[in-house]
């Protein structure tokens, strides 16, 4: 399971009100959520993202609310994976459940600049910064997590499992 894209760099404590401001939570439409993703920090973030791009952030990414709209907005904006030094608890679980891979890497902020090209191999647990030509080890995603991501989230994964083969 490999993701490749350009880095969007963020700092520590990126909260759910930055990821998707609460005033837009009167809908569950993915396109609309994507339109407002990261709006307080970057105007038209979703238009600027190329499909597959990767977020690299500092500590406690996704702190705040339990809104699943947050990982949904990021995923719908075209981001394929988030690397952070640490994640807030609820956001971490919500992301996996929504089929958005999230990866912890200590000191991640030091290893990447905005626009670096990155390749993430979740099966082998290797991140490569292609711009710097440096490699970092992470814990590989176990098969069931990969299946959740490939199914597009926990619910589809569970439904697929129930279907007779």
């Amino acid at each position: 399971m490999i993701f490749k894209g350009k880095v969007w760099k963020f700092g520590d404590n990126i909260d759910t009100d930055i990821i998707i401001p609460a005033r837009y939570l009167n809908t569950t439409e993915l396109k609309e959520l994507a339109t407002h993703c990261m709006e307080p920090l970057i105007e038209d973030f979703s238009k600027k993202v190329n499909k597959g791009d990767i977020i690299v952030a500092g500590k406690n990414f996704g702190c705040g609310s339990s809104r699943e709209h947050a990982p949904l907005a990021i995923k719908s904006a075209g981001i394929s994976c988030i690397i952070a030094e640490s994640f807030a608890r609820i956001f971490f679980r919500n992301s996996i459940n929504m089929g958005l891979p999230v990866v912890e890497l200590a000191d991640a902020s030091k290893y990447f600049n905005q626009n670096d090209e990155v390749e993430i191999n979740l099966t082998d647990g290797i991140i490569v910064n292609l711009t710097r030509n440096e490699k970092y080890k992470i814990k590989p995603f176990p098969k069931f997590l990969q299946n959740i991501i490939n199914s597009g989230g926990l619910l589809n994964y569970s439904l697929n499992k129930r279907k007779p083969k």
């Binding site: 404590n13 909260d15 009100d17 930055i18 401001p21 609460a22 005033r23 939570l25 009167n26 809908t27 569950t28 709006e39 307080p40 920090l41 500590k59 406690n60 702190c63 705040g64 609310s65 339990s66 809104r67 699943e68 709209h69 640490s86 807030a88 608890r89 609820i90 679980r93 919500n94 459940n97 929504m98 989230g153 926990l154 619910l155 569970s158 439904l159």
Partner: protein, 417 residues
Amino acid sequence: MTIGEKILAAHCGKEKVEPGEFIEANLDLILANDITAPLAIKEFEKTGVNKVWDNTKIALIPDHFTPNKDIKSAIQVKILREFAKKYNIKYYFEIGRAGIEHALLPEQGIVLPGDLVIGADSHTCTYGALGAFSTGVGSTDFAAALITGKAWFKVPETIKFIYYGKLNKWVYGKDLILYTIGKISVSGALYKVMEFTGETVKELSIYSRFTMSNMAIEAGGKAGIFEPDEKTIEFVEKRKKREYKIYKSDKDARYSEVIEIDVSKITPQVAVPHLPENSKPVEEVEGIKIDQVVIGSCTNGWLEDLEIAARILAGKKVHSDVRLIVIPATPTIYKEAMKKGIIDVFIEAGAAVSTPTCGPCLGGHMGVLAPGEKAVATTNRNFIGRMGDKTSEVYLANPAVAAASAVKGAIAHPDSI
């Protein structure tokens, strides 16, 4: 074992659990609101399951964008309403009878000590004030629990906080928790339980305890728990709808960390933009001009909070440059405040008093900030753009500081009024 470990063990049929262990536990109550339930209901319906786990243990509370602020939010609430009717959900509260979920459920005796609760709202941790283990989850976890009545947990480590010393005047649970988050940071309790103990917590009202448990999530906490005492029992006995069980931490319980806090050194706190960890003594920020004050929310919308604010506002006027918005957290609190003449005090002072809603806390409605505006709020988050425009600012404080600031037109110490 700690109180948190005991509750988790009791709900997965084990004698003992240890931090790091994964368990599947039976839940006493699950809840969601008008933002998180529609996603969960959409997921639930995709599964093709046509039965909920137990209609008497589910709460659906429209409180965030209610009374509906626009057509889209009206559609969201309609989804809750129709689902609640279809499955005969016991704790669906219609507008007018609904309050802010985390005040309403304890007030109505629907959550009790010893309960294990998940809610699709991050402030579900509030019920730790009663000695329950309650934690916020996403809509998918809620949807799964709608079907099974269960959730899986990693048993968290616990940090023990020992509060000692005499509380200063105008210092409440809000100040202790802001101070604590300032000390340990917004990720200081990530994945962990915050257990609030010590001689001072016995002095705290149950409402101050609700405020502290409520904000455990602002330090990244999974739960924020107090051991039940006489005050807890007094609160729940007259409200309980069923029996409950009291758990207490063992003397030899293991903690990942023990943090002692001398409360006599704490004066009223203000958390400046844009993180709850930016707490400072009010003396350091006095004089910052403000445009709005909000008193309410799941953090500080209890009757006691309104009484504290009214004590300061009695016979005073809100500063001509300030809008004061007061929001009792539940209809019962509203009614009691009316009986006590507190609502009169607010209206005489020039405040707008609203029906219960989360509204302005999350910049939804009922007091959204324009670019560059500043607000003092008794709410829980001061993130960028939380209450409105991304250039607006929120200063978190207790109800006394909020009321004093409304009168002064600038951040003020309650003693200055």
